[in-house]
């Protein structure tokens, strides 16, 4: 039974690692579409030739905080993997990530509703 448990553990771990590696490679080579990741769209403007697209600082900050939070947590885990538990994270991290998401959603809502109103007033 012990050998079976080891086999299951290795199977799951290899699968997760292979999946993460595959998706990372496809993201870096462009096979997974990331067009417009840092651009928002303003409702009410013509869509031809991406005229309604704008460079979105709120997406940039969300990307930065997402990657920073991810790396921070991974380094916490790698510094002490033998503790038997996933490391707890400081309260400031969920607050920061939550705030970053709030800014992103506010920008998205503005582009959707107020951007549309601004266009009508022109």
């Amino acid at each position: 039974m012990q050998e079976l448990a080891v086999l299951i553990k290795w199977e799951v771990q290899i699968f997760i690692l292979a999946l993460v590696g595959l998706i990372a490679i496809k993201l870096l080579t462009g096979e997974i579409n990331t067009d417009g990741l840092l651009f928002g769209r303003i409702s009410g403007r013509p869509t031809k030739n991406n005229q309604n697209q704008y460079f979105s600082p709120e997406r940039v900050q969300l990307l930065f905080f997402t990657i920073a939070a991810g790396f921070y947590y991974l380094q916490l885990v790698l510094n002490n993997p033998s503790s038997g538990t996933l490391p707890d994270i400081p309260q400031i991290l969920p607050v920061t990530v939550g705030g970053s998401n709030a800014i992103y959603l506010a920008g998205k809502a503005y582009a959707r509703w107020l951007g549309s109103s601004a266009n009508k007033n022109k």
Binding site: M1, L4, L7, I8, K9, E11, Q13, F15, I16, L17, A18, L19, V20, L22, I23, K26, E31, I32, N33, T34, D35, G36, L37, F39, R41, S43, T47, K48, N49, N50, R59, L62, L63, T66, I67, A69, G70, Y73, L74, V77, L78, P81, S82, S83, G84, T85, L86, P87, D88, I89, Q91, L93, P94, V97, N101, Y104, L105, K108, A109, R112
Partner: protein, 222 residues
């Protein structure tokens, strides 16, 4: 006494058989799961399972919420992998880690709600061709290289032509020359006394779809 011994022996044999059965079933399940995993990974690698829109919205744009969800899911999966590998046991997941996933999920849901409130957010964007530069100013005899992009069909074959005014353009490469003896307006030759500035309209069309068209304007000066 003899019967009791027989019964005990029989029970032990049954337990032993049950253990062997469990082991065989376990290895069989592992084998099937392993083969299924390899098949899924192989299909993802060669494109049969299409991951191109993994982080895209229905309209084709990449979504930051989906990307964040992907990043956090894999960070936690990798963390579990490292801890299980080190300790051989399933770890306790702190509430703060779950709250991080919860924030990402909620943000994704709200983002989806905002997106779906706009019809353009749920329809796949039409395939378009975009010509650059859209305008150019040249002297007689000068050349301008035009480029066209079809973001949703990068391999689309394109055809270039001058549909109005003066000049000629390579139909395959998009290299325009401000030649007053060429073009729809040239007719019998270059105008004897050109009234500058003159103009030319360049059109690019996708071979597979004649409705995919974009235009550029060239202003020709002396």
């Amino acid at each position: 006494m003899y019967i009791l011994t027989l019964a005990a022996g029989s029970a032990q044999q049954t337990d032993g058989s049950r253990e062997i059965l469990k082991l065989v079933a376990g290895y069989l399940f592992c084998g099937i799961a392993g083969i299924a995993g390899i098949i899924v990974l192989w299909k993802m690698a060669n494109g049969e399972i299409n991951l191109s829109r993994l982080v895209s919205e229905p309209n084709g744009d990449a979504s930051m919420s989906r990307f964040q969800f992907l990043v956090f899911t894999f960070v936690i999966a990798l963390s579990l992998f490292f801890v299980i590998f080190a300790t051989n046991g399933f770890p306790v997941i702190p509430g703060t880690v779950l709250s991080l996933l919860g924030i990402s999920s909620s943000s994704y849901l709200v983002s989806k709600g905002i997106q779906f409130s706009d019809p353009n957010g749920v329809q796949d964007r039409a395939v378009e061709v975009m010509i650059t530069p859209a305008q150019a100013t040249l002297h007689v005899g000068q050349t301008q290289q035009f480029k066209a992009e079809v973001p949703r069909k990068p391999d689309a074959a394109l055809k270039w032509e001058v549909i109005h005014g003066y000049g000629k353009i390579d139909p395959a490469r998009g290299l325009y020359t401000a030649d007053l003896t060429q073009g729809p307006a040239a007719g019998a030759g270059a105008p004897p006394t050109p009234q500058f500035p003159l103009h030319a309209t360049i059109q690019v069309t996708a071979d597979e779809d004649p409705e995919l068209v974009d235009l550029a304007v060239v202003t020709i000066s002396a």
